[in-house]
């Protein structure tokens, strides 16, 4: 079923909407949740909650693309669940992803006053401009690592690359991002 048709089902408040959503994207949602939580049962519950989230958000939201929308909801729920549970079995990939960005963040200039600090929106816009300047493969790699928190191993497999190549390329991407943000005058 096309995304548009699924969204229409939500608008019609059809009980088939979530069934169709999960038929099409359940696997993806499960994978996003599992990558963060490393727990199949928790991931299932996240998918469940994400479907509820979609039901409550659509309408008024009319997401396009639907895949990104459900990934975003699933990730938020999974992350909140991690926070809530303070899970011992948390994802190593997530931890590494967080640490890599934290390290980069620590090397960026700090704002002297609260007013000088960039807002999250400004930061996101700058990151988007940075991503727009990358070649597609690098951009995809960056998003997989720092948005989806995928493991280097998984990215390598998906992009048919060697793990080491992915790791090196990600390192270079972080360095490029740092340079870019500094050039933009970032203050955190």
């Amino acid at each position: 079923m096309e995304d548009r048709e699924i969204v229409n089902l939500f608008f019609q408040r059809s009980e088939d909407a979530i069934a169709q959503l999960t038929k099409k994207y359940g696997g993806l949602m499960q994978r996003v949740a599992y990558d963060l939580l490393q727990d199949a049962e928790d991931a299932k519950e996240c998918v469940n909650d994400a479907c509820l989230g979609a039901w409550n958000a659509i309408p008024p939201a009319k997401p396009e693309p639907l895949s990104a929308f459900v990934c975003r909801i699933t990730k938020n729920i999974a992350f909140n669940r991690l926070r809530f549970k303070k899970a011992k079995k948390r994802s190593a990939a997530l931890e590494q992803s967080l640490e890599e960005l934290e390290e980069l963040e620590g090397s960026l200039p700090s704002a002297k006053t609260v007013e000088d600090a960039w807002t999250e929106k400004e930061l996101t816009e700058a990151i988007e401009r940075f991503l727009d300047g990358l070649d597609q493969k690098s951009r995809v790699m960056f998003v997989k690592r720092y948005w989806f928190a995928e493991a280097v191993e998984a990215i390598a497999k998906e992009l048919s690359m060697r793990e080491n190549s992915v790791a090196v390329r990600l390192l270079r991407l972080r360095e490029k991002l740092k340079e870019y943000l500094e050039k933009e005058g970032i203050q955190l």
Partner: protein
């Protein structure tokens, strides 16, 4: 857990197009990756399980909202009017939603409230049997194996051990029948599979049948009923104790052209509209001034308050006393009307258009008041809690519902036994638990199997069956409580009296104008266009429904 920094959060907010690109980039390899993950999840079917679990959950949620008790109600209903309860505080339910396996299986929570004894079961529902002249005494009849067909995504988790246990128990209890399940696999969940399910369903020799997960717009069940595929249950229900337990309106929902065909599945049938007023934004006096007139909410807009509009269609019209069904409004006397021609409805949409900047798009945004059929705080991460709101509740309408139902096939040679077994499941908690949770869960008292799916597939989601973790279906402690609730809060939709209610769906295309009207720059021009279109749709509706 390490808290994410600003950079992580910044990346987390990047536009959807980047996510889509990442997802699409290696789509061809995704199936391989998914399979790889499968082993970690145990079984490939695990996510499919949640297809139905989630469907049930959200539907249950719609129904479950009313478990929050309306406390401190002042005036109750306005007699004679389709009006709701005075503004009340919403309190967290004192019910325990999370029941551990041991408690549940020990029968301390959530047993089906039996209103009849085992002896009654043997005699109940036997009117049709007697009329056919068969023997009624268990043990003297030839043993038959009932076949129960259903659409399977692999979520029902019935094991051979469970089936054996059900049959052993039936035999032990003196019944002259056993059960065999016929899952009709729908591995890919495509529309064509849904269609083929219908074909297989009537060719597999089943006695009991689940009508399927297809979109109700396809009208498969209505067509099958008209073709004589399903057995009317009226004669069987005549003296059934189970019939008495279920609110009459729910039997109407499971009926078609004045005959009952299914054991009622009441999902989403137990909720009306609710206006939520955030306590931090309204005083109690202000809240109590609201008397049910939707258009009076303009005063809140004038005060600069922000509104969360959870209504995606013309269902808001229920606040004006119409029943909404598939794009059509029905008046109390059963007349079908076009929402775009009704002045109060148009005024409400005009109001939302005029104050569109105060209408928020998402539950996570700040809002002061909301109109919803479910609690708006159920969206992720917004921290809304029932106790933070005043609420005004309108009565809801129960509408025809023939999809996701369970009935008996007319071709069955064992209709009486099939009915007796279905009745048994709905009145004897020990059988219901066995079917929902499986022999293994019962034996081990460990983690329960998923029950949402089973509740839906086997038609046991009546709010009277056992609860389990995460189940947000409205739960009733007794059948009487359930009946009382329905009597007070749920009205039969006039759509239930239509000969072909499914024809109402000709109006569904007009629903696109609802959201467009709320945000158009030229309301009157679009309204004119929408009315013209909708008039054509309404002609089809009126032609088809009688």
């Amino acid at each position: 857990m390490k808290e994410p920094g600003k950079l992580w959060n910044g990346v987390g907010k990047i536009a959807d197009r980047y996510l889509e690109e990442a997802l699409e980039y290696n789509k061809s390899s995704e199936s391989k990756t998914l399979e790889g993950k499968t082993s970690a999840f145990g079984r490939r079917k695990s996510w499919r399980t949640w297809v139905v679990l989630t469907a049930c959950t959200f539907l249950a949620l719609v129904g479950g909202i009313f478990t929050w008790k309306m406390a401190l109600g002042k005036g109750g209903e306005n007699d004679g009017e389709l009006q709701g309860q005075q503004v009340t505080d919403l309190l967290q339910a004192d019910e325990v939603w999370y029941v551990d396996a041991h408690t549940l299986l020990a029968g301390k929570e959530g047993d089906i409230p039996l209103e009849k004894k085992r002896g009654d079961q043997e005699s109940s529902g036997n009117a049709a049997l007697d009329a056919e002249g068969d023997e009624t005494e268990a043990g003297r009849k030839p043993y038959v194996t009932l076949k129960w067909a259903y659409q399977s995504f692999g979520m029902e988790e019935i094991t051979r051990a469970t089936v054996r246990e059900i049959n052993r128990k039936l035999k032990e209890d003196g019944y002259s029948f056993g059960i065999q399940f016929l899952p009709i696999k729908t591995t890919n969940g495509t529309d064509s599979e849904d269609r083929s399910y219908q074909e297989k369903l009537f060719q597999c020799g089943a006695d009991i049948a689940f009508t399927g997960f297809y979109s109700p717009e396809e009208h498969y069940t209505q067509k099958a009923i008209r073709a004589g595929k399903y057995e009317p249950l009226d004669a069987y229900l005549k003296d059934s104790a189970y019939y008495e337990q279920i609110p009459e309106v729910l039997w109407d929902c499971a009926s078609y052209q004045d005959q009952i065909y299914f054991f009622p599945n009441e999902i989403a049938q137990d909720a009306g509209l609710t206006l939520y007023l955030r306590k931090s934004s309204f005083t109690r006096e202000e809240a109590e001034d609201f008397c049910g007139d939707l258009l009076s909410l303009e005063q809140y807009f004038l005060d600069g308050k922000r509104f969360l509009n959870c209504q995606s269609d013309y269902q808001f019209a229920e606040a004006f006393g119409y029943s909404y069904y598939m794009g059509v409004l029905l008046t109390e006397d059963g007349k079908t009307v076009n929402p775009l021609e009704e002045e109060n409805c148009v005024q409400w949409m005009r109001l939302l258009n005029e104050y569109q900047e105060q209408v928020v798009q998402s539950n996570v945004a700040d809002w002061d008041f909301a109109l919803s059929r479910s609690f708006p705080g159920t969206d992720i991460g917004d921290g809304n809690h029932p106790e933070d709101f005043y609420a005004y509740q309108w009565k809801g309408y129960a509408v025809p519902r023939l999809n996701c139902q369970t009935g008996i096939l007319a071709s069955s040679a064992n209709k009486q036994e099939a009915f007796q077994f279905l009745e048994l499941l709905h009145t004897d908690a020990s059988y219901a638990k066995l079917l929902l949770y499986g022999k293994e869960a019962l034996d081990q008292g460990g983690s329960l199997k998923c029950s949402y799916a089973s509740q839906l597939i086997f038609g046991l989601d009546t709010g009277l069956v056992t609860k389990r973790q995460g189940d947000s279906l409205r739960h009733f402690s007794t059948a009487e409580e359930k009946r009382n609730y329905y009597e007070k809060w749920i009205l039969p939709s006039p759509a239930l009296t239509l000969k072909y209610p499914e024809a109402c769906d000709a109006m569904l295309p007009a629903e696109e104008y609802y959201s467009r009207l709320l945000y158009t720059e030229d309301f009157d021009a679009l309204l004119k266009k929408a009315r013209e279109k909708a008039r054509g749709y309404m002609q089809q509706v009126n032609k088809g429904i009688r």
